[in-house]
Subunit: 294 residues, 2 copies
């Protein structure tokens, strides 16, 4: 059974599973495990690792439209180097500060491969699901796409400083709060924009028509990509950008934009499920491709 099949099995077994975070009793809770080999390219600083690992969980809290309350991390490594451990903790704490959450520590553990497991907790009485998109809604995204794709190329080229900068990101908690009263469906783009669009459209049983020229592409991608087509490909399928993907009624877009400092781009519209392909870009099928987290 592959990971997606296993996730479907769990989603059948557990009522609270199947969204970015589980909602229970006014809280949202989400957990992730990251490994050096699959998630932290050579050159990733422990500060960036702490920021990114905890940030990924905070992004899941944002994707529920919740306030972020606290985060913890279990840090497993073959040995504990004082400087590395403090850098990790500072990265974790700094990303929490960005979203007004408290980093409250966690567990330490001897393990061959550097592995981090993070959990974030948020509060909302009204979590935004993935399943409420309606035909006529607009498909909106925060920020820009492709930063992590560009970072990976820069790590490969040995430009670790710029790569680390690009690899850190602001979890969109405040924008998630601004979207919450209006969005009909919401998730984050951790598995890539294309896959997120498919997941939202499937959960809502509708279709999305996306316009490529409206997809906001990070400047850094254009530097590392051979041409515009490759830049668009990286921006839509690489993933790990931790932006929000939402569907919002046309009349509410201005209100959301007024309530957040982060750019909100309208990249397409929601249509009926029976009008052809699940997700199209410029009228052609957009494949459900992206990053399957290892």
């Amino acid at each position: 059974m592959d990971e997606r099949a296993a996730l479907r099995l769990l989603s059948d077994e557990l009522a609270a599973a199947g969204d970015d975070a589980a909602a229970v009793d006014g809280l949202v809770v989400t957990t992730d495990m990251l490994h050096e080999r699959t998630d932290f390219p050579a050159g990733t600083s422990r500060y960036t690792a702490g920021w990114r690992a905890v940030g990924a969980s905070l992004s899941d809290v944002a994707a529920m439209g919740a306030d972020a309350t606290a985060a913890v991390a279990a840090y497993a490594a073959p040995s504990f180097d004082r400087g590395e451990l403090l850098d990790f903790v500072r990265g974790a704490r700094d990303v929490c500060e960005r979203v007004d959450a408290e980093y409250v520590g966690g567990d330490l553990d001897g393990h061959e491969e550097f592995t981090v497991s993070t959990t974030a907790i948020g509060r909302t009485d009204d979590p935004v699901p993935r399943s409420g998109a309606r035909p006529g809604d607009l498909v909106c995204v925060t920020g820009t796409f492709g930063r992590s794709a560009a970072a990976l190329r820069l790590f490969e080229r040995g430009d670790a400083e710029r790569a680390n900068d690009l690899f850190r990101f602001d979890p969109r908690v405040a924008t998630g709060r601004a979207l919450a009263p209006h969005a009909t469906a919401l998730m984050d783009s951790s598995d890539g924009l294309a896959r997120s669009l498919h997941q939202l459209a499937e959960a809502s049983d509708c279709g999305f028509a996306i316009e490529s020229e409206s997809v906001p592409i990070a400047d850094a991608v254009c530097e590392v990509a051979a041409n515009d087509d490759q830049a668009l490909e990286l921006a839509t399928t690489f993933g790990e950008d931790f932006e929000l993907v939402a569907t919002v009624p046309d009349r509410s877009v201005a209100a959301v934009r007024n309530a957040t400092d982060v750019s909100l781009s309208v990249i397409g519209t929601v249509r009926d499920a029976d009008e052809g392909e699940r997700v199209t870009m410029d009228g052609e099928s957009l494949p459900d491709r992206g990053y399957t987290h290892g």
Copy 2:
């Protein structure tokens, strides 16, 4: 830097660290990571693994005197077997049901070694710290000690069924709630009774005088131990029993006992720090030995 030194470093760095769980904003949060090689002996069923991993975090919630709200787990394995995954989830869910918490799922992750990271969340406005024991208080423990030590021997002997039974445990959430209004210091015994006594006494800056004949030893230990001395040794140092260790004013012990179905044994008294050794058993120094979690 070994794990204990690293934990001290973190405890200096993070205000919320250093107790069984972090307290933030009316919540307590705790996270643990467990690995097949160090935490799940050959013969441990996935049902027991799910129960035990989530139970360990719920025990940390109990050790704060909090109500248990929810738990999540990240499940990492080389492949996902449908039966194993469902067994794990059922064990996780069943231990949550025992303490009126909700198991809300988590993350799946490809990884060479079976590894589980669990987080539990509880609620209390008044967490019980490790640091409030006062001379004259009584040292109390829940349940019996040595179940996990006995389970390990039975796994080694191939008696997996009895071993699995012993390896599951009831997190003492209800008893933690009963202790909370009265206990001056509280923690769980996951690192062994002897180490827990040292940690409580150090955090409270006092000494403990323990009587060995009052330490409740699980029947199963007596079966696997060569003699009474070895049984006492296993019960006090093996750890992983997830009982509560508390200090309680003499006048309050009856009230705690009335408020819980779980047995509460008085095993000693709290005395001034300057009266010799930090922790004594039958008048002799009880070494700070126990299980350092890998």
